[in-house]
């Protein structure tokens, strides 16, 4: 503690808050902002967080460091007036088709306009309404709803280092744009969707597949099955009235079954299959001499990033399909001769999965392996639309014959999970002591880059666990320049891994960590910790997949250069 400052006449202890805004929010005051995220650099442009000081001066709470003895007020007559005026100015230049907007109900501008009682806009509506950019499979861009807070740009550049978008032009002509305004699909965008996650309005939103899913689901001649990714179960609770990080899988299964999904499965089994295949590949890989490491392949945004930025590394990425695609292939085989039209849906924490699902590489007999991908947020909306009260449902188990999963598969949803799962398989030992040792090797935690060394059969394996594409880019430069040498690199495009995916409800990084802990808690309660201990694995590999592992579980990506030509 460093001393006290006064906020709205209340003395508040200063610890190590970076700015007054953090302190204000800490004591439970919802000071409005459009452009502040603790993970991003301070932009200071929305001017909604202005507070009044003792001298009657106004200061932006987001950039002012707390000072001992300083006094501010957050809600004076002047501030109220200016905040209303700023909202009015934004609305006078904004598409006001709120009721049909993707983000209706979750839009900060709409919310604040309502809270501040903006009833009358004195100025002519000058919003221009260009055609939305629907070229990306992951996100929709509607500039008529953009308030130019720049959050998307900062996340795309500072956190993800993708640099697909930036401000273009200036003043009242300013807009968020790709270079030369090309469609998102032709830009360096990798579909990670982090821009949509931070967008306060409907300007960037995750593509919506709800209507397509409903339509198949309610078609009597179609059997619809669904798989649920590990990270989804710990992120849905908060919005549905539970604690963040609480495992809600049973309730999700119950809700989906009632809606009419014939079978509800757990993607975790796909993760177990991935661990098995990837471990085999890795063992073969370390036998050979290699200067570059083997990279994991589960994350589709990472695949896109490598294709666009580092095509020369494509040969070092594991040929394993992602768990979603492995599991999808299995399900499609299972339903192949069922006689009825079969549609398979995946509920994912991810926006890039929507693109992965439509890639030509992931088809089986000419049809997509996964027909629709729903984000966690869409799942929540779907449950709301169905009318089932989530907290009144009785939890149900996932369906057979794919009902057994392991803890190793579950922790795929958090950065370090894939590495830990592979290590568990490699150690060939399920004792508590060994598991604990593996867990402590250094792969856990929310840091962007974790480096660890593991002894394996007399060899020292160097492993990197990296998440957030900004960190990925820096690591790759070090690897390519020879500054760093690894045998195995686990890559997740979103900082913290899938629990922090852009398809999940947005929460700050500190809360995302709770989701990760939720997955580790599930792992603790599992009967099987190692993927190879999963009795289903043996059945599947010697049964339905026999002789077809390569065809059904592996993939080769065409080089991006050819596909863009």
């Amino acid at each position: 503690m460093k001393g006290y400052m006064t906020i709205d006449n209340i003395p508040v202890e200063i610890h190590d808050e970076r700015n007054i805004l953090e302190l204000i929010r800490k004591i439970g005051i919802e000071l409005p902002t459009f452009c502040y995220y603790s993970e991003l650099s301070i932009h200071g442009a929305c001017r909604m967080c202005l507070v009044e000081n003792e001298k009657g001066g106004l200061e932006a709470a987001c950039s002012e460091p707390p000072r001992v003895g300083h006094k501010v007020w957050t809600n004076t007559a002047r501030l109220r007036k200016y905040r209303k005026n700023i909202l009015e100015l934004l609305l006078s230049n904004h598409n006001r088709d709120c009721t049909v907007c993707n983000k209706s109900g979750e839009c900060r501008l709409q919310d604040l306009a309502l809270k501040f009682g903006i009833k009358n806009i004195r100025y002519l509506n000058t919003a221009y309404t260009p055609e939305p950019d629907e070229s990306s499979a992951s996100v929709s861009i509607d500039r008529s709803k953009c308030i130019l807070c720049g959050d998307c740009i900062r996340v795309c550049n500072e956190i993800q280092n993708v640099g697909a978008i930036d401000f273009a032009f200036r003043g009242s002509q300013m807009k968020v744009a790709t270079a030369f305004g090309v469609p998102m699909a032709s830009s360096p965008c990798v579909g990670c969707g982090q821009c949509a996650a931070v967008c306060p309005t409907g300007a960037i939103s995750v593509k919506n597949s709800l209507e397509a899913v409903w339509s198949d689901l309610l078609d009597k001649n179609t059997d619809v099955t669904v798989q649920i990714a590990p990270a989804v179960r710990v992120a849905i609770g908060k919005r549905m009235g539970f604690e963040e990080g609480q495992n809600a899988l049973g309730l999700i299964v119950a809700a989906l079954k009632r809606m009419g999904f014939v079978k509800v499965f757990d993607t975790t089994l796909g993760a177990d299959m991935t661990v098995e295949e990837e471990s085999k590949e890795f063992l073969k890989f370390v036998e050979k001499t290699h200067s570059l490491p083997l990279f994991t392949s589960c994350c589709p945004a990472w695949i896109n990033y490598a294709e666009k930025r580092y095509p020369e590394l494509m040969g070092n990425i594991s040929t394993c399909k992602s768990p979603m695609q492995m599991f999808g292939a299995l399900v499609k085989q299972y339903y192949k001769n069922n006689g009825k039209r079969h549609v398979h849906v995946a509920v994912m924490p991810c926006t890039a999965k929507k693109y992965e699902a439509v890639r030509p590489e992931f088809t089986c007999d000419g049809v997509p392996i996964v027909d629709h991908v729903l984000s966690t947020q869409e799942l929540i909306r779907m449950i709301e639309q169905s009318g089932y009260q989530f907290n009144k449902l009785e939890p149900e188990a996932v369906d057979n014959p794919f009902g057994i999963v392991t803890g190793a598969g579950v922790i795929f949803g958090v950065s370090g999970g894939v590495t830990e799962a592979v290590l568990r398989t490699l150690t060939e030992d399920s004792s508590n002591a060994t598991l604990l040792q593996t867990a402590m090797a250094g792969e856990r935690g929310m840091e962007g880059l974790k480096e660890l060394q593991v002894e394996y059969k007399g060899k020292t394996l160097s492993i990197a666990v990296v998440s957030g594409l900004g960190n990925v880019g820096r690591l790759l430069e070090d690897i390519l320049s020879g500054k760093k040498v690894f045998d195995f690199v686990e890559v997740m495009a979103c900082p913290g891994g899938c629990v922090c995916g852009a398809g999940q409800p947005y929460v700050p990084l500190s809360v995302k960590e709770i989701r990760g802990k939720g997955l580790y808690a599930i792992d603790k309660l599992m009967s099987y910790k190692r993927s190879s201990d999963n009795p289903l694995i043996e059945d599947i590999f010697s049964g339905i997949l026999k002789g077809r592992e390569h065809e059904l579980l592996h993939v080769s990506y065409d080089s991006q250069e050819e596909s863009t030509e």
Binding site: G163, A164, D166, A168, A177, F180, P188
Partner: protein
């Protein structure tokens, strides 16, 4: 007029500025000086050389008024509309030039790429207002009629 971007020239520019991202504006200025605009083809090269995204370079090219993404005319006329020139009626000169060159509303360059007409905020020659510059040379105390004469003299020279 050069149609194709000369890669040796680009290489020379980026090495002169040590590929430093902080020198990107100076690089763009050099390139614009040579081509009189920023050809689209330079963007991937500059992006690779400096590590800045193409979107970032596009962002700079559209933020600063001096950069043009469209080819500029062979003759560049700048009409000053600073305070001193404005109060001494610089806008009628602009209107005359646009009319004479048959520039459509919003267009700054003639279709044959012979002329570009731009408005600038102040050329620092307020004592001679209203001022226009033609290819960097200042013409003081202009009137719409003098502007017409100036244009006609250029077109004649061209015709010879």
């Amino acid at each position: 007029m050069e149609n194709v971007v000369n890669m040796d020239f680009l290489e020379e520019i980026v090495s002169y500025f040590k590929r430093s991202p902080s020198s990107i504006i100076a690089m763009l200025q050099e390139i614009q000086e040579k081509y009189r605009y920023l050809p689209k083809e330079i963007f991937p090269f500059l992006s690779k050389s400096t590590g800045l995204s193409e979107a970032r370079i596009y962002s700079l090219a559209t933020f600063y008024e001096n950069f043009s993404l469209e080819p500029k005319g062979k003759n560049i006329i700048k009409v000053c509309d600073g305070t001193a020139c404005h109060v001494r009626k610089s806008l009628p000169i602009l209107e005359r030039l646009k009319a004479k060159l048959k520039l459509e509303p919003g267009a700054v360059t003639t279709k044959d790429l012979a002329f570009t007409v731009e408005v600038v905020a102040c050329l620092g020659a307020c004592g001679l207002s209203p001022v226009i510059t033609l290819n960097g040379k200042a013409y003081p105390a202009m009137t719409p009629d003098k502007a017409t004469e100036l244009l006609e003299s250029l077109i004649e020279v061209k015709g010879e």
